[in-house]
């Protein structure tokens, strides 16, 4: 009877004596790959209670139990590593990147505000913020150093801000450098997402844009789940707060989740946003499915969507009369 083991293939007789053995070389990586290939095999399994270690020593694969365990340890470890690294699928990497981006954004905003608050005491007239302010501080430090070619030169000279002492200047510059590097990191992650989306979900990227597409995958949990969602769900993904309110208090159902940020939706006149969002969601759903199941890019998807939106717009050029629009809806909206 033939037996597959992690160290080789054995031929045994009825009582389990080894008649013949074909041993693998002691190459850890090859042994690990071979071990993984045996996971699904249904035939030639070792019989119940078969002593693998004794067999390995008997047929000369290992000289001693110690050597057997040493090799087994290396092989199981290598195999597990291979499995774990392949368990991170490309869409999971995108999700990690999206989450990192959100964290970075939050931190960057908080630190930028701190910087602007702090530097505001020394140059309140600059009107700079965010990355521009950080760049400015890294470049000049005190407003006294602003060069005459700089558009802010006059404002800096006539500023009513306090004088920046060297110790504070050093501190502020260092802080601004940190903020700046966060902005750089953000760009790097955005470029990564854009690039990965093109490979993982080109149709979704085309319809939604890279960031919105990545966020949809992230909120759904995976490209597979997104592909399984009905388009009515895609329409409200990310609107969970509004959605729960709707379920609990019978507030009007939310028309749009994060797809509200889609250019076709947020440029639509208010009375068409629901309709447009529905059209966009249905194409996003289709795009996710094509990406998940075939992966081929279909440029006609976007054309069809644009045509559909144009049709919606031409059919409904004017806002509806507000007669039977229920009062509830308006009140809710105002309260937000």
């Amino acid at each position: 009877m033939k037996i597959n083991t992690w160290f080789g293939t054995l031929e045994t007789d009825r009582v389990g004596e080894i008649l013949e053995s074909k041993l693998f070389s002691k190459d850890i990586r090859k042994l690990a790959l071979h071990s993984l290939s045996l996971r699904e095999s249904r035939s030639n399994l070792p019989p119940e209670g078969f002593d693998l270690k004794a067999a390995a020593i008997k047929c000369g694969f290992a000289e001693s139990p110690a050597e057997y365990y040493f090799l087994l340890h290396e092989v199981t470890l290598e195999a597990a590593k291979l499995q774990v690294s392949s368990a991170i699928t490309p869409d999971q990497r995108i999700i990690q990147a999206v989450e990192a981006l959100d964290d970075i954004n939050e931190t960057t905003n908080a630190l930028s505000e701190r910087l602007s608050e702090w530097y505001g005491g020394y140059f309140p007239e600059s009107e700079l913020g965010g990355e521009d302010l950080a760049l400015f501080i890294v470049k000049y430090g005190s407003r006294e150093n602003v060069s005459s070619e700089d558009p802010l030169y006059l404002k800096a000279r006539n500023s009513m801000g306090a004088k920046l002492e060297p110790a504070d200047e050093a501190l502020l510059k260092g802080f601004a450098e940190s903020v700046l590097s966060l902005y750089e990191r953000r760009q790097q992650i955005e470029a990564y997402i854009e690039n990965s989306m093109e490979q993982v979900a080109p149709n979704l990227k085309h319809i939604a844009g890279p960031m919105l597409g990545a966020r949809l995958i992230s909120l759904a949990g995976s490209l597979e789940k997104l592909a399984e969602f009905p388009s009515s769900t895609i329409q409200v993904i990310g609107a969970s707060k509004a959605l729960f309110k709707h379920l609990r208090a019978r507030a009007p159902s939310p028309k749009h989740g994060i797809i509200y940020s889609h250019p076709l939706v947020n440029t639509a006149p208010w009375w068409l946003r629901g309709k447009v969002a529905r059209a966009v969601a249905s194409k996003l759903s289709l795009a996710a499915r094509i990406d998940f199941y075939s992966g081929e890019k279909d440029p006609s998807l976007m054309e069809k969507l644009e045509a559909k939106v144009l049709q919606i717009r031409t059919l409904n050029p004017r806002p509806p009369q507000k007669k039977q629009e229920s009062g509830v809806k308006l009140k809710k909206r105002r309260r937000k």
């Binding site: 597959n4 083991t5 992690w6 071990s35 045996l38 996971r39 699904e40 249904r42 399994l45 070792p46 119940e48 209670g49 078969f50 002593d51 693998l52 270690k53 365990y69 040493f70 087994l72 340890h73 199981t76 470890l77 195999a79 597990a80 590593k81 499995q83 774990v84 368990a87 991170i88």
Partner: protein, 226 residues
Amino acid sequence: MPEVKKLSDGIFEVVKDKKQLATKNLDPGKAVYREKLIPVQGTEYRTWDPRRSKLGAMVLKKFNINLKENSKVLYLGAASGTTVSHVSDIVSEGAVYAVEFAPRSMRDLIRLASRRKNIHPILADAGKPDSYSHLVEPVDLIFQDVAQPNQAEIATRNAIRFLKRDGYLLLSIKARSIDTAANPKEVFKAEVKKLEQAFEPGFEILNAKDLKPYHEDHLGVLAKLR
């Protein structure tokens, strides 16, 4: 100086401020989770928190866990290795086959195993022992903590394949993963019955106790092949 009392092979009670369950650290100087390291006369002990480990709780509830220095253990549901690390301490000259199916947990387990030569990590579904039968030798003890509805079945399949005739099965049964609404006592009774009648000749139940106060709604079971 802390006082050390041996409870059974490889398992100790260290008294420092209070009584604490402990094992000898196989990887001196390194803690695995947030356990304490207590050196006593050239030997380092790692405290073993029964609230974080079903097996630790079983030891304190006087289950005979039947482990020796050179025992071979099949551990099903290894998670990130909290308890596995103590088993690895106990069977310092033996082997722990640590099966876990969640890649996230396996990452931690790999880190642990790369420092401890007697842990052999296996990313697989414990419900499919055929998928690792090419790796695992006959073992002296199967410990299982998977918190799955079909835990009795998983234990049975693995025991048939890997448990030595004179080996033991130690099981942690979680009532709520089987039936969230039912009375835990009823669930436990049904699970024990399953083990006794699962197959011919079936298991003989040597001990079955709940794991209070360390774990709520958990039953510990010690069994051997009939």
